[in-house]
């Protein structure tokens, strides 16, 4: 047995060695451990623009660049954040390196370790904060909510919503100052006004107001194809935009006496019958469409928006005689403003003033409540118009009909009957107050279920119509369009949605459009946006995505032209770690909820494309054209 004693010469030497200063050559190997003193994002490194600037020692969700400061960073330094490899863009010095990485959604609000390794030696972990601690709602919930309330989620909008919570954010949007999206001094030919639509949708801060105005423009439709030019439509859109947060009666009234609507559906210049079988009758156009499309629909509905049937036959909500009587009410109005801004004015000389010989019997509900003004009581054009609108607004169909329409445009094509009822109830209680109805729609459990129970409802969601698909990609990829850009209006028109030029008063697509049986899916599944997604239009979407990522378009790696600009280098930086690239795209485009099986497919599809730029644009192209992204859910 051999024991060391305090006087053993080897132990004395060891003791002496430990006590020697560290600059001694004998001690160099043991004391070059790298260390981290700080992490900061938003550096001014040329490859690091477009990273959101965060507080010290914080990284954002999504792609980022960061500068790590510390000591002993050799040229072989490797970095791991949260246990995943980060990309070293440059070793700037022994005390600073620049990295690229991605904050992945599961890390949001947590602390994650940063470890650098140099010369085979790892630093101690340095903890940073990821994303938004103390967030009121998760990243995924916020991102989904923004897909329902804006033209596409951006990083800053998501973080802001996480900080405020849904209700406060909505109230802020209700109070956001409005401007006129289409200036009255705007000049220019097509596609100037459509360009302005996309410019506002992609960049203006009053996103919810614009999104709601867009939905309303697809309900109370007018079109430049009849009115001649988008310039004649612009004041009407300004009007809808200003009334988006008001209430249904105010909107319906403004629409009814709008000169653009008067020209579009022929109420302008509508005159009473000239008399006799060989005379003329009043135009029935506005009378029919105001009922069929703008208020109650053609059949009776219950409070869930489901048609009432009689042995399987839908029960009509009005007859041809009713239409004729409304047509008589809507006589005697004329346009006085050639710019189509000031409302129409009444003229009793051309108005059908009869209330005794042939009373104008309006809407009633057989077996239901007695509606006000089921017969008009005044012969005066303006008074009767007011009475007719009150009669329409009191019909029990209005609440479920309008509620279901708004739900379809903001949330899902197939709301459950109970969801429609919940919203219709609040609509009816508040006489169609838009703020209340919007909050009810957006905060409902059915709209929010997917925040955590991803895709738990198989019939949930709706296809991104062309405008939403285009603006969503722009906003989520930080791609900017200018207000003179032809690209988005032309793309949208190719895809079946020519802004300002709805092909008829039934809009680009009808709320009642259902998938044909040959799809082999759930029978009766409503899919309005699919009405303009034929196979050839679907092919054009793929083509547009391919050319916009492949050859230097709005979603390519870098692009700058009169149409707009984009810099996707934060993603290109990640291409040597494809799983980080996919996670970063998931965070920004698919709410951080992409299933593992889809990630695997995406990784497999891009792995054989070596160069960093092509791999990145291929990944963006594939995700943009995937059905998982094309459907908002």
């Amino acid at each position: 047995m051999y024991t060391k004693s305090l006087f053993d010469p080897t132990s004395i030497i060891a003791l002496v060695l430990v006590l020697l200063p560290t600059t001694s050559p004998l001690s160099a190997k043991q004391t070059n451990t790298p260390s981290i003193s700080g992490v900061s994002t938003g550096s001014n490194n040329a490859t690091c623009i477009n990273t959101p600037v965060n507080a010290a020692n914080t990284i954002p969700i999504g792609p980022y660049c960061a500068t790590i400061t510390g000591a002993n960073f050799g040229t072989d330094t490797a970095v791991a954040v949260g246990g995943r490899t980060a990309i070293v863009l440059s070793v700037d010095s022994l005390t600073q390196i620049t990295i690229a990485g991605a904050g992945v959604v599961p890390w949001d609000g947590t602390a994650q370790p940063v470890v650098v390794t140099s010369g085979g030696v790892s630093s101690l972990p340095f903890f940073i904060t990821v994303g938004t601690p103390n967030a009121r709602v998760s990243w995924s919930a916020a991102s989904r909510f923004l897909d329902q309330t804006t033209f596409g989620p951006t990083h800053d909008d998501i973080v802001r919503l996480q900080t405020l919570g849904f209700t406060t954010w909505l109230i802020g949007q209700f109070r956001t100052p409005q401007n006129s999206p289409y200036g009255t001094t705007d000049l220019g030919e097509y596609p100037y006004y459509p360009s302005r639509f996309f410019f506002n949708a992609a960049s203006a801060p009053d996103q919810l107001r614009q999104r709601v105005a867009f939905a309303l423009s697809q309900l109370f439709v007018v079109s430049a194809d009849t009115l001649g030019t988008p310039e004649n439509v612009a004041p009407y859109y300004n009007m809808l935009y200003s009334l988006s947060f008001s209430n249904y009666p105010t909107i319906l009234s403004a629409v009814t006496i709008s000169p653009a609507m008067g020209a579009y559906l022929n109420m302008a210049g509508n005159v009473k019958a000239s008399g006799g079988p060989n005379g003329t009758i009043p135009s029935q156009n506005f009378a029919r469409e105001v009922l069929q499309l703008f208020s109650i629909g053609p059949v009776l509905l219950d409070e869930t928006g489901t048609p009432v049937t009689n042995n399987g036959v839908p029960v009509a909500a009005y007859s041809q005689t009713t239409i004729g009587n409304f047509a008589r009410v809507f006589t005697g109005w004329n346009i006085v403003d050639s710019a189509l801004i000031s409302p129409m004015v009444p003229n009793n000389e051309t108005h059908d003033t009869d209330i005794t010989v042939n009373p104008k019997v309006l809407l009633s509900v057989p077996g239901g409540p007695v509606l006000p003004y089921q017969t008009t009581t005044s012969g005066d054009a303006a008074t009767e118009l007011g009475q007719a609108l009150v009669n329409i607004e009191a019909h029990p169909n209005v609440a479920p009909f309008i509620s279901k329409f708004l739900i379809q445009h903001l949330v899902t094509s197939n709301p459950s009957p109970a969801y429609v009822r919940r919203v219709a109830t609040r609509f009816a209680q508040t006489n169609g107050d838009m703020k209340t109805v919007l909050m009810t729609i957006l905060l409902d459990s059915e709209a929010r279920a997917g925040d955590s129970n991803v895709d738990g409802n198989p019939s949930f969601g709706h296809l991104r119509e062309p405008a939403l698909w285009l603006t969503g990609l722009c906003r989520s990829l930080n791609s900017t369009v200018t207000d003179l850009s032809n690209a988005l209006p032309n793309y949208s028109a190719t895809l079946g949605e020519p802004m300002f030029y709805s092909p008829s008063v039934f809009n680009f697509y009808a709320p009642t459009y259902a998938l044909p049986a040959s799809f082999g899916l759930q029978p009766g599944l409503l899919a309005p946006e699919f009405q303009i997604q034929s196979p050839s239009e679907a092919y054009q979407r793929v083509w547009i995505a391919a050319t916009s990522t492949l050859t230097g378009g709005l979603w390519s790696s870098t692009f700058s032209s009169p149409d707009g600009y984009v810099d996707l280098s934060p993603y290109v930086n990640l291409s040597s770690e494809p799983d980080l690239l996919v996670d970063a795209l998931d965070a920004m485009l698919t709410h951080g909820q992409m299933p593992t099986s889809l990630k695997t497919l995406l990784l497999g599809a891009i792995q054989t494309t070596p160069p960093p730029i092509q791999q990145t644009t291929l990944a963006i192209y594939l995700l943009a054209t995937s059905s998982y992204y094309q459907v908002i859910h």
Binding site: I281, G324, T512, S518, L521, S534, A546, L598, G604, T625
Partner: protein, 468 residues
């Protein structure tokens, strides 16, 4: 519920292309494109908005109407020339078994084709559940009991019911699609039988078959191979979400159809392409563009490996509630030129007797004009059928009495007194076309296509109406 029958959408491959079809040099005289002698095509031209056929076909001196005589004066009484009425001197006269009618002056080419015996007029066709009289209408107008079609005079509902030939809105397939279903029973074709040029119309969708789409088709674009192969993998992704599956199907269909169609059309020989281009050369309206593509697809049918095709095209703008005269003249002029160009192409290709073109519209319009010099929604309307196989130069069906509040009007009430009840149902119109196309009238298939046929015992499906 089984998944979508993907067998319909496996990759299409072109048939072996015959040397004749591909000869680019030395085809001096006859067009080298060969189309099977057994080939037939139906082309539905839907006039969207409701065609005011009261100004399209006008009696001049006839034995029609309830009184056995109807003349231009009867028309002029209700549609004076001071309003939207046409003058007799403007009309293009045509004869119908000794009677004289007049076509709208814009239909110059159609009237020539009519005179040559290759165009026919169908009078007062419409959406009916059963033969309907004014008394029946009035007894059931407020009952919603299935006696009358639902939501009469509503654009969307009537378009759907014309396209599905089912009056109660319950059909989730079009009758054109159901024809394709019938033919698919004996084996799926190598390319969809039906081709639709119009967004969202259900006409071409069957219960199991799916049409090809040329709405936004552009044969000059082609996706690079590495971009389509990656996408193909993602289109297989299915996490149960119905909308995602629907989007997958549509995109997959687009990829398949584009590749095959573009290749076939780009392989058309030069004389054929030039003929089509020349006939349509100075026409730039959307209807002509659709028919030009239809002509190319027909010319390429042998390369696509199909000998039966049904096409759906549409012309918008017919909802003439105000300022009708000039608008309607323009619409019919466009229609006339487009139909003529298309008919000439079929003659050039030597297949005029194998292609039958026919109009549809969701309704005719009110006989009585409104105070905005326009007309409102009505019900029955007249239609045109053209083709080498048509027994043309005459009118089929029963011409209505042009009297507001008269024997054919739904009621005497001013709101409806100018709305005339159709006398020929869509079912008889369509069944005649389907029979020519090759659907058996005796084995029950015809009733699958047109469920209301049993309600019209005076129509004999085996004989058809006789116009083709």
């Amino acid at each position: 519920m089984s998944g979508f029958p993907r067998r319909t959408f496996l990759r299409y491959t072109l048939r072996t292309i015959t040397a004749g079809a591909l000869s680019r040099f030395g085809a001096v005289n006859a067009l080298a494109t060969s189309i099977s002698g057994d080939y037939k095509a139906l082309v539905c031209v839907f006039l969207l908005g409701g065609n005011d056929s009261h100004n399209m076909v006008i009696p001049i001196q006839t034995t029609g109407g309830a009184s056995g005589k109807q003349s231009f004066a009867d028309y002029a009484a209700v549609r004076p020339a001071s309003g939207i009425g046409l003058l007799q001197s403007q009309l293009l006269p045509i004869t119908v078994n000794g009677d004289i009618y007049g076509l709208h002056p814009s239909l110059q080419n159609v009237s020539t084709i009519y005179a040559s015996g290759k165009a026919a007029i169908l009078a007062n066709v419409g959406n009916l559940v059963q033969p309907t009289t004014p008394a029946l209408y009035q007894a059931h107008a407020l009952s919603s009991d299935g006696t009358l079609p639902v939501n009469l005079m509503s654009h969307s509902d009537q378009q759907t019911q014309w396209e599905t030939a089912t009056p109660n809105l319950l059909a989730a397939s079009g009758w054109g699609g159901r024809v394709a279903d019938v033919f698919a029973k004996s084996g799926l074709p190598s390319f969809p039988m039906n081709v639709s040029a119009s967004d969202g119309s259900i006409f071409a969708f069957g219960t199991t078959t799916f049409p090809a789409s040329i709405v936004a088709f552009d044969p000059s674009i082609a996706l690079p191979g590495n971009y389509t192969s990656g996408l193909a993998q993602l289109l297989a992704f299915n996490n149960g979400l119905q909308m995602v599956q629907a989007a997958n199907q549509v995109t997959q269909a687009g990829l398949n159809q584009h590749a095959v169609l573009a290749q076939a059309i780009n392989a058309l020989d030069i004389p054929t392409s030039q003929s089509i281009q020349t006939r349509f050369g100075n026409l730039s309206d959307p209807l002509s563009a659709q028919l030009e593509t239809v002509a190319q697809v027909i010319a390429a049918s042998q390369m696509l490996g199909v000998n039966r095709q049904i096409f759906f095209v549409a012309q918008g703008g017919y909802d003439t509630h105000g300022g009708e005269s000039a608008t309607y003249a323009g619409l019919l002029s466009t229609l006339d030129n487009a139909l003529n160009a298309f008919f000439l192409v079929t003659q050039d290709l030597g297949i005029a007797g194998q292609v039958t073109t026919f109009t549809n519209s969701e309704f005719g319009r009110n006989l009585q004009p409104n105070g905005n010099a326009g007309t409102d929604h009505a019900w029955g309307g007249h239609h045109l059928v053209l083709g080498g196989a048509v027994n043309g130069g005459t009118m089929y069906g029963t011409f209505p009495t042009l009297q507001v509040g008269g024997p054919d009007a739904i009621s005497a009430d001013p709101s409806g007194a100018g709305i005339l009840i159709p006398s020929t149902p869509i079912a008889a119109y369509g069944a005649t076309l389907a029979r020519w196309f090759g659907v058996s009238p005796t084995n029950g298939d015809m009733v699958t296509l047109f469920p209301t046929l049993p309600n019209f015992p005076s129509f004999n499906a085996a004989a058809g109406m006789g116009f083709v």
